[in-house]
Symmetry: C2
Subunit: 378 residues, 2 copies
Amino acid sequence: MKKGYLLTPGPTPLPPQVCEAMARPIIHHRTPQFQNILKEASDGLKFVFQTSNNVFTFASSGTGAMEAAVANLLSAGDRALTIQGGKFGERWTELCQAYGVNTEILDVEWGKAVEPKEIQKKLKANPKIKAVFATLCETSTGVTNDIKAIGEIVKESEAVLVVDAISGLGAIPLATDAWYCDVVVSGSQKGLMLPPGLGFISVSPKAFKLIETSRSPRYYFDLRKAKKALDKTDTPFTPAITLIIALNEALKMMRQDGLENIFLRHKKMADATRQAVKALGLELFAPDAASDVVTAVKVPANIDGEKLVKIMRDTYGVTIAGGQDELKGKVFRIAHMGFIEEFDIIVCISCLEKVLAQMGYKFKMGSGVAAAEEVFLR
Amino acid sequence: MKKGYLLTPGPTPLPPQVCEAMARPIIHHRTPQFQNILKEASDGLKFVFQTSNNVFTFASSGTGAMEAAVANLLSAGDRALTIQGGKFGERWTELCQAYGVNTEILDVEWGKAVEPKEIQKKLKANPKIKAVFATLCETSTGVTNDIKAIGEIVKESEAVLVVDAISGLGAIPLATDAWYCDVVVSGSQKGLMLPPGLGFISVSPKAFKLIETSRSPRYYFDLRKAKKALDKTDTPFTPAITLIIALNEALKMMRQDGLENIFLRHKKMADATRQAVKALGLELFAPDAASDVVTAVKVPANIDGEKLVKIMRDTYGVTIAGGQDELKGKVFRIAHMGFIEEFDIIVCISCLEKVLAQMGYKFKMGSGVAAAEEVFLR
């Protein structure tokens, strides 16, 4: 008998309503019944994206929706600016390069947020830049970027702003329209509390103009096809029916909570996690730009970070994430995103204490949990 | 109180084991637990595809996997042959053209199977053709093509054979390796008894050589990335975890039944359906090449075909499919694919009789059901 606890930055735990919805007998997608669901879900997505633009849903992971952005906006030889500061910022660069885009890279130290003024400099130096690719929350480092400030800068240029909000959407503030985000990309398995398998993309009228001119080959992710279909409350290809039905359930829950309450809850979970690990004498990886959806913590000296994550998961059933790429073994990451509430954090910190103690790390037993409790008591 | 019956060519009904699997709490994909499932599912796919080649799984609809075939095999300016005889054959052409491929089209009358010798002629006339794109079962017309004969022909050329087996795989015979199919594409919501959301593609060594040379832009559907990941029992991007877990359950059922029994069952369902509609005085749309997964029936004179489908669905809960594109209103399609057994067919024919009678069509009440029962009694 072992219970499982999931505190990873995607997938995140599923609410029972979502699980139940996926177990229902399947319905056909070209029916009024499914059309009503698709309509409701698309409206719900606009609410979460805080946009009046269309939000399109693909059967794909978030990366598929990222590719949709690149392939639809740009052609080979076009110029773009990508902002890198972790694994997912680098994905924008890889995608642009895969499409032959002339890619200017703004390299940011891992663990730091981008300085918006650096983007301004790049745009002034390269007025031919057609698109700027940014990341709301860089999951690999636990950094949140200041998309609002970036939006203010990019809107003064000819370029469109494309934001990877796969991690963060529906968990931390992102006002697509008010912040001048032309294209926002997301995925289902993070703040939206669903399994992976859906990619989302919102598109502004400014971005749609660019889409009409792109010569990049595309079919499945063609946003012109997606728009034509959505205008008739349809999808160009068979949609991931069960996941969209589940999406609708999750969106209903989110509407009931309200975005402000959801953002506050995430902030509280993040605060508690940060206070807890600090009370244990551990160091945050990104203290200056720590995100409210995932906390990256430096592995202390003489502790095997990968082993720590493995023991928590395999021995005690508490799954957190290790470091990726250059941070492998150097950080562990506790996600507090989606369907996570205070006792999930307490369980996670308690398990972390147990395993750290077993691995010989010196600290006062219970001090992490106590610090989290203090935050929750406020 | 209304029960629902689904006899559409995708999605097909879900077995309870599949529904249950999707309602489980989600697990993380980068864990030994999920790796075991992915390994088992990938092996199960090889069994269903009847191949020793790798079968890759994308979070996408079947069309995504079709695009993967085109984007990975061909570059702009390459020459390809597409075989058209319905909506899905045309999709190959559209995909090739989207990638700038010099596309030779072999046009087949809707409702007929392609004559394999015509392919031979085309290949002889155009030795530069790098890939031939065929369709196992053309869902829009209910036609099955002779892939075995096509494989024998294409293998004598330099070209690779790419088969859309989205409809048909795991329901009617398709021996990927024995029939020299270099690339076979499929989807989850048909013979595999799952919701839509997974695309599959098997790739032969001959096809992989071509993949290494393609210059088409690709990222999400890049089979080089997919191969590198699968070699480590991983996926390049977050997989559709719940659907893959459900896939594993469906594959276990299929292994238990055995492919031969599954094919026989589909043949019986198809026979019963064909005999039933003929007994009602209706005409098959594709009498010479009728598929065992979906039966297209001509709408009789003076009957509104779209209304027939609508009444069956909205009044009586029995969902069949209407005609697509040029066949809209001219045929209706009864699918007998996946988790369908004899009493599903009885229900469908009984409902068809009821609605036909209400619409003023003249026939002997019960004659369709009786004809189906005769087939099942054998």
